[in-house]
């Protein structure tokens, strides 16, 4: 754990992580478990779909965004998510795509009920190697306050 706390983060700050290399086997394995439609599992069927080939399932793209959140440099001391808004996946993800996460701090405020945490509102953008957005959303997250800040909080 550890990492940047509420006091270390300013509105407008940007944090990045990645790339995550998407493989054909990851796309197929994920779809077999959680999105078992033929054109997400079978290359032949996928070739005849509107995408002309295998594409990653929506929840896999969402999972990769969460994975990259854990790889931010510097790390941020997140305590949990409060919810996502305007979640969109405007472009498909294909095998061999390289995905990068960008996280932009839109808003910060102290928690009214708990002195040990604050709330950040973030814009999330996941892009492929051609800089096309493959996932974007707004998210509100809890982030730890610095221990020395609690006393005065």
């Amino acid at each position: 754990m550890g990492g940047l706390c509420f006091e270390d983060v300013e509105v407008g700050n940007r944090y990045t992580a990645g790339p995550h290399s998407v493989t054909k086997s990851e796309i197929i394995r994920f779809a077999q478990q959680y999105d078992p439609v033929l054109e997400k599992i079978d290359e032949e069927a996928a070739a005849h779909s509107i995408f002309g080939g295998l594409t990653a399932s929506g929840p896999l793209i969402f999972s990769i965004y969460i994975l990259l959140t854990s790889q931010l440099q510097p790390r941020l001391h997140f305590l949990g998510g409060l919810g996502w808004d305007e979640l969109r996946m405007p472009n498909p993800v294909h095998p061999s795509d390289e995905l990068d996460l960008e996280l932009i701090v839109l808003e910060k405020r102290e928690s009214k009920s708990k002195a040990d945490r604050g709330i950040l509102r973030l814009r999330i953008i996941l892009r492929n190697q051609r800089r096309e957005t493959v996932l974007e959303c707004l998210v509100a997250v809890l982030i730890a306050r610095r221990p020395d800040a609690k006393a005065s909080g």
Copy 2:
């Protein structure tokens, strides 16, 4: 594929699927891959977390909702998702929870650009065996129109 088309679905209709039984190994395996924080992977660490035990990662809960969408009875002939709004996960998911999906049709309209499809706006609710909501959101999806409707569309 196949299943109910745009013409078969009315505003106010409800469709259900489930249950999906969540296992400890599914929670741990998913977190190891996509949400590798100690208290989602290690039972000992989880016992000392604010939840007092292992809980499912957000993207796993989202994945289970998508999985159950493929198990609706009757099936719906979805062509893809357009985006999610107001995605919330108000209660944690624990090992041995049994999750049920409810999908409520809020709105339907024809596609302006493509005669072979329509758009549904749905409320999604995923509940555990105690009827507590563990995921809810609004989603817009593309659904196939009946082949015979295309000619007149």
